[in-house]
Structure formats: structure tokens, C-alpha cells
């Protein structure tokens, strides 16, 4: 299984770089993962989405769709795409250390 090192800790990831074990994630790793994905500085708005992703994953066992994010995270879809241009659900899941959401929407 591939691994990555964030904040000095080795973590297990899948072949696309999503965390295999979300319990290995620490919020001190987020900035490093984000930088790797081409996102500069993580703002409060980014963090609102990242925390929401973690929360949803803990409640439901999977990350939310973009539609659900837009409706319930407090960040609208337009802004979600400004914050995470390469796909909000996917990128925010990666930065939040949860598996890639598999929904079609």
C-alpha cells in the first residue's frame, strides 16, 4: 500500500493519494496536502468545508456530494469551486483525510 509523509508522520493512502485510514489524519497535515494539490493558503472558508467533510464522514461513513456540500456546509457551490477549483468534493476529501466520495453527483 502506498504511503505519504505529512507533518513528519507516515500515513497510508490509496493510489490517488486519498487517506486509507482517516484516523491517521491531523489538522496540521491539511496545509501540506492542499499545497500538493495546488491550493495556496487555506482560509477560514476552506477550513469550514474541510471540517464539514470530516463531520459528514464521521456521521455517515462517506464524504458528501457537491450538491450536499452546497446545501449544508454553509458555502455555496460557486464559492466551493473558487476555493477548490479542481473539484470541491474530491479535493476537500483529500485535504480532510477521508476516502474519495464515490457518488456520481
Amino acid at each position: 500500500m502506498p504511503t505519504k509523509t505529512y507533518d513528519g508522520v507516515e500515513v497510508a493512502v490509496d493510489d490517488q493519494g486519498f487517506f486509507s485510514d482517516p484516523s491517521q489524519w491531523r489538522n496540521t497535515m491539511a496545509a501540506e496536502i492542499a499545497a500538493q494539490e495546488g491550493i495556496g493558503e487555506l482560509t477560514d472558508r476552506h477550513w469550514q468545508v474541510i471540517k464539514f467533510m470530516r463531520h459528514e464522514y464521521e456521521e455517515k461513513g462517506t464524504g458528501p456530494s457537491v450538491r450536499a456540500l452546497g446545501k449544508t456546509s454553509g458555502v455555496a457551490i460557486k464559492e466551493l469551486y473558487q476555493l477548490f477549483p479542481k473539484g470541491p468534493a474530491k479535493l476537500a476529501a483529500k485535504i480532510a483525510g477521508i476516502p474519495k466520495p464515490r457518488g456520481c453527483i
Partner: protein
């Protein structure tokens, strides 16, 4: 991943429920993967962006063998509406929104929405007939210019 898809241009030419959703799902899915996407509406596909019509797009219950439903029954008054509502309900359970909300959502993802000029002229429509998210009415030549460097998907 140098051969990864980076851009798609999706043409929606049908005005039926089952003819419209696949293209919308593919456009939204492209943006969710960080792929640039443009949507081009032509012929009856214009109903999808038509202010008055986009809420009334119906499932074809006649001439649709995939439905496994007798054509004679499918033609009875109200059957198409009932089946459309049933399908819409099932899609909602999968987190797939109704067409007007879906189109607005796709525009919010940054995808470009365009109407085909030939079809707009054919049906005697104008920019004002369309939802405000429609960026422009363009010719087929302009479509190809916008589609340059990406994949074209016809639905």
C-alpha cells in the same frame, strides 16, 4: 496521467427526461473531477434552458422500448406525467436534483451554457426566453472554437 481528459463539450439535443439527464450528469461529473466543461443545447434540448419549459420536461412513455411498457398504455393521458414524477422521485433519492436546479448547479460549477443559433432561429426564440445562466447563443462554428482542445460528447 498525460492522457487524462482535461476538457469536454457536451451537446444536449433531446427534450425528453431520459434524453437530458445523461448529458447533465456527465457535465456536472466532469466539473466535479476538475475537468473544464461546456454545454451546448440544440434542437429540443433547448427546452432544458427555456424559462417556461425547463420544469415540464417529460419522460417518453411512447416509443421507448427500454421502459418495457405497452405503447398503448404509455399514450394514455397523464401516464407520461406520472412516470416522470416517479423517476424524478427515484433520482432525488440518489441526490440527483430536478432539471432546473441541476442546470443552475452546473452553471455554478463554472461550466459554460450555450444555445445553438440555428435551433433558436428555427423555433423563433430569443435570449430572453432562456434562463440567465445561458452565456450566449452561438453558431456551430463558434461551438467548435470553444470545443477546441477537448472531447465532444453528443447526447
Amino acid at each position: 496521467m498525460s492522457d487524462a481528459i482535461e476538457k469536454v463539450s457536451i451537446i444536449i439535443s433531446k427534450g425528453s427526461f431520459e434524453g437530458v439527464y445523461p448529458g447533465l450528469i456527465m457535465a456536472n461529473g466532469a466539473r466535479a473531477e476538475g475537468i473544464e466543461a461546456n454545454l451546448f443545447f440544440t434542437f429540443f434540448g433547448l427546452d432544458v434552458i427555456h424559462k417556461e419549459r425547463h420544469e415540464h420536461i417529460k419522460l417518453a412513455t411512447v416509443g421507448n422500448p427500454g421502459l418495457h411498457f405497452a405503447t398503448l398504455l404509455g399514450g394514455l393521458p397523464g401516464v407520461s406525467s406520472v412516470m416522470t414524477n416517479y423517476m424524478a422521485h427515484k433520482l432525488e433519492k440518489l441526490d440527483i436534483p430536478p432539471i432546473p436546479e441541476f442546470v443552475e448547479m452546473i452553471a455554478d460549477t463554472g461550466a459554460g451554457l450555450y444555445a445553438c443559433k440555428a435551433s433558436v432561429d428555427l423555433f423563433g426564440l430569443e435570449k430572453n426566453d432562456f434562463i440567465p445562466q445561458v452565456a450566449d447563443i452561438i453558431t456551430v462554428g463558434e461551438f467548435y472554437e470553444k470545443a477546441a482542445g477537448g472531447q465532444i460528447i453528443f447526447t
